[in-house]
């Protein structure tokens, strides 16, 4: 146990910081729309060209083949440099990539991984359906094999960024007679070049058409796009869930320190609602902000512990569910404190991804998407604490 970084790691940190200082664009990331998609692609490409994409990805897929700790250093410096939010590259870079490395065949890996790192392909996740959210394995979108194709019919919902993406990772039911976890197949769908797909964007209550309903009407996809084998899709998904819950949000976790410091700055400059002193001199706010600072520190320590475990054991541990749960709760309490700090100013909706009121509304999904807080607790209770299952 120690906190010191090796000379190599320190040098690496310097290099990262220098590159970021010289290359992070001053331009704000557009908060949504096709402009955001273009921006995200371009920024990903720039990182790739600079040799900074896929730091911990193997070299054969265009990555740097460095350690998870170096990846963490990158995230830390990234946040410090106030580099743009990863945006629509999130799923491809943080989840699809690691998943394909684990489960896809050589051809699929060679085709998709480099283009993900270069920002050439944006991905979305077609898992949830109207009847299958928490109970993902209850999904009903159907696919039947016809020749060397899968023919897909059904509906997905809440598919983030579907309208802008090139590919979709998708779970479909290929054997309706098998037990529900056994009849599912994982398949890659080329959204731009496949007929029969109808994408209908939905608006988030915080504004912006973030996600979509996606309808499939006799959609034909080559069998070659199946990852793993037919009816083995559940295993493919579960194998990579640890990444989703463990490390994918590391940059956002580290970035929470910026959010809390932002609120502290606000409290220094504005009176407490109904008070005469600046909020920072108000005991209640001072202490609530202090708790947030402490919790953000713990969040960072948890991230470091995760990375330590990955370094030692090669994969994230079961604490991922806890990290995700904590992340959701912490983001919500940060912005709730922000709302309280605002006083009557809370009546105004701030521009997307700025100020306090918009992020406040936006963070409600942090205890819903990617497995709700209740499901994260249940997973931890049964898989880690060994509690009896209720269902």
């Amino acid at each position: 146990m120690d906190l010191t970084f090796t000379t190599e790691e320190k040098n690496f940190r310097d290099q990262v910081a220098t590159w970021l200082r010289e290359n992070v664009t001053k331009e704000e990331r557009p908060p949504e729309g096709i402009e955001a998609a273009d921006f995200d692609r371009a920024w990903q490409k720039k990182q790739f060209d600079g040799g900074w994409a896929g730091i911990a990805w193997p070299k054969e897929y265009g990555g740097r083949g460095l350690s998870p700790l170096q990846q963490l250093i990158w995230h830390e410096e990234y946040v410090k440099a106030r580099a743009p939010y990863i945006g629509m590259c999130f799923l491809a870079v943080n989840q699809v990539g690691p998943k394909l490395m684990l489960e896809a065949n050589a051809e699929q890996r060679a085709f998709h991984l480099p283009s993900i790192l270069r920002g050439e392909s944006l991905w979305c996740q077609g898992y949830s359906e109207p009847g299958a959210g928490s109970d993902l394995a209850g999904l009903r979108t159907k696919a039947v094999v016809e020749g060397d194709e899968l023919v897909i019919n059904g509906q997905k919902v809440w598919t983030s960024y579907a309208q802008y993406c090139d590919y979709q990772e998708m779970l479909v039911r290929t054997d309706p007679s098998a037990p529900k976890h056994k009849g599912i197949t994982f398949v890659i769908v080329d959204l731009k070049n496949t007929k029969g797909i109808d994408i209908r964007p939905l608006e988030l209550m915080s504004g912006g058409k973030h996600f979509s309903e996606v309808f499939y009407d006799d959609v034909r996809v080559p069998l070659a796009n199946v990852v793993g084998s037919l009816n083995d899709g559940w295993k493919v998904t579960v194998a990579s869930l640890a990444f989703e819950r463990g490390t994918a949000f590391m940059a956002e976790q580290i970035d929470m320190a910026n959010k809390v410091e932002g609120l502290i700055q606000y409290a220094k400059e504005h009176p407490a609602p109904g008070g005469r002193k600046n909020a920072i001199e108000d005991d209640e706010f001072r202490r609530r902000l202090a708790i947030l600072r402490a919790e953000v520190a713990a969040m960072r320590a948890m991230s470091l512990a995760s990375v330590s475990r990955i370094q030692r054991e090669g994969k994230p541990g079961p604490e991922g569910s806890l990290t995700r749960l904590f992340f959701g709760q912490l983001t919500q309490s940060i912005w709730r404190t922000g709302m309280d700090l605002l006083g009557p100013e809370r009546l105004e909706l701030s521009p997307m991804a700025q100020g306090i009121t918009h992020p406040y509304l936006r963070t409600f999904c942090n205890t819903i998407s990617g497995g709700s807080a209740q499901i994260q607790r249940e997973v931890y209770a049964t898989r880690v604490l060994g509690m009896p299952k209720t269902r």
């Binding site: 109970d135 504004g207 009176p271 809370r346 105004e348 509304l361 205890t367 819903i368 709700s372 209740q374």
Partner: protein
């Protein structure tokens, strides 16, 4: 002692509720396009004709001479439907005009010939009804002619055409929001606190809206938990969900019963009324916000969509919290007013 509504009051509530359900249900928002504002239309005259604006105003002043509890019961229903804020605006506006002796204006407002928005002091130099200067936010100024501004020192009725209004986007998108500098020349009627405590009145009415809001979200969550199935069972069969719903019910009980008590204490001039009202405001705000959040969680992904009712309650709970004067001032008031233990006799700590 009786904290429950009388049979007559219950009939009145039913009538109010059925009008709101039919004419101004929360679902009206679903039909709105991106920039549609919930401005007063035909419903304004109807609501006026039903006598809602003069419920608790003396008959001599053109009202129906009811009690503040009647108005509180009405506003609870208004809150339940995220109904328009020109309803409490009209109630307060008509009262200010009537008590200030502006009979013509009071009659116009009681008859729904003009609509009243609600202003609240805001910004670094918040407005005061005494100095008649400082910053305000106005909610619902679009297609309204007047606005009320109420604080602990008094109440003003403002002519909106004499304010320089700057539009701003509201957290509840269907509401128009403006900020402005309060101008002395815009005041058309004024009532000092010594004549009538409109601040407590507004606080009670807003807290009643919060109580209705949190009862509505409780009911939505419970209903959804019974019909939404995952893992082959209604999600309400999972304790994580059913217990959340019970906590929501508890918050409703806290908010509504404390508010009923506070309203009666105020009407009867009880010595601890100021404390009781402050406590009611704090609990109503907290209950409404926390229930709205829990309701969203129970609904999962669909709760995050603009098209579903869930979000309207959440946003309204924050808007109305602001209109109670904000929870912080009421928390301070709780500690500044004696009386929490007044009726129970002295309490000996550590005995």
């Amino acid at each position: 002692m009786d904290l429950l509504p009388s049979p007559t009051q219950i009939d009145t509530i039913d009538a109010i509720a059925s009008y709101l359900r039919e004419k101004l249900p929360v679902a009206r928002y679903q039909a709105f396009s991106y920039d549609t504002l919930d401005t007063p239309g035909g419903a304004l005259k109807e609501v006026a004709a039903l006598g809602w604006f003069g419920f608790a105003l003396d008959e001599a002043l053109g009202g129906s001479g009811g009690a503040l509890t009647d108005e509180m019961l009405m506003m609870r229903e208004v809150g339940r439907h995220v109904a328009p804020l020109w309803i409490p605006g009209g109630v307060l506006g008509a009262r200010i005009a009537a008590l200030a002796g502006k009979q013509e204006l009071a009659a116009a407002l009681l008859e729904g010939r003009a609509s009243v928005a609600i202003a609240t002091a805001s910004g670094e130099r918040p407005a005061s009804t005494t100095t008649r200067s400082g910053r305000i936010h106005v909610i619902g100024a679009e297609r309204a002619q007047y606005a009320v501004l109420v604080d602990v020192e008094g109440a003003l009725l403002l002519d909106l055409s004499r304010l320089r209004l700057q539009p701003a986007p509201c957290i509840e998108r269907q509401l128009s929001l403006h900020h402005a500098e309060l101008a002395d020349g815009s005041v058309v009627a004024a009532v000092p606190v010594a004549k009538d405590n409109l601040f407590v009145r507004q606080t009670i009415l807003m807290a009643a809206m919060q109580a209705g809001n949190c009862e509505a979200t409780r009911d939505m969550a419970v209903e959804y938990a019974k019909v939404r199935e995952q893992f082959g069972r209604p999600i309400g069969s999972f304790q994580a969900i059913s217990h959340m719903c019970v906590d929501m019910a508890l918050r409703c009980e806290q908010a509504w019963t404390q508010l009923s008590y506070a309203c009666l204490a105020f009407e009867e001039g009880a010595p601890d009324a100021a404390f009781q009202v402050a406590a009611a405001a704090v609990l109503a705000n907290r209950s409404a916000i926390d229930n709205a959040r829990a309701n969203l969680q129970v609904h999962g992904g669909i709760g995050m969509t603009q098209a579903h009712d869930v979000n309207y309650f959440l946003k309204r709970s924050h808007v109305v919290e602001t209109l109670t004067g904000g929870s912080f001032m009421h928390l301070d008031a709780i500690m500044e007013t004696a009386g929490a233990t007044q009726n129970a006799g002295p309490m000996v700590v550590g005995a």
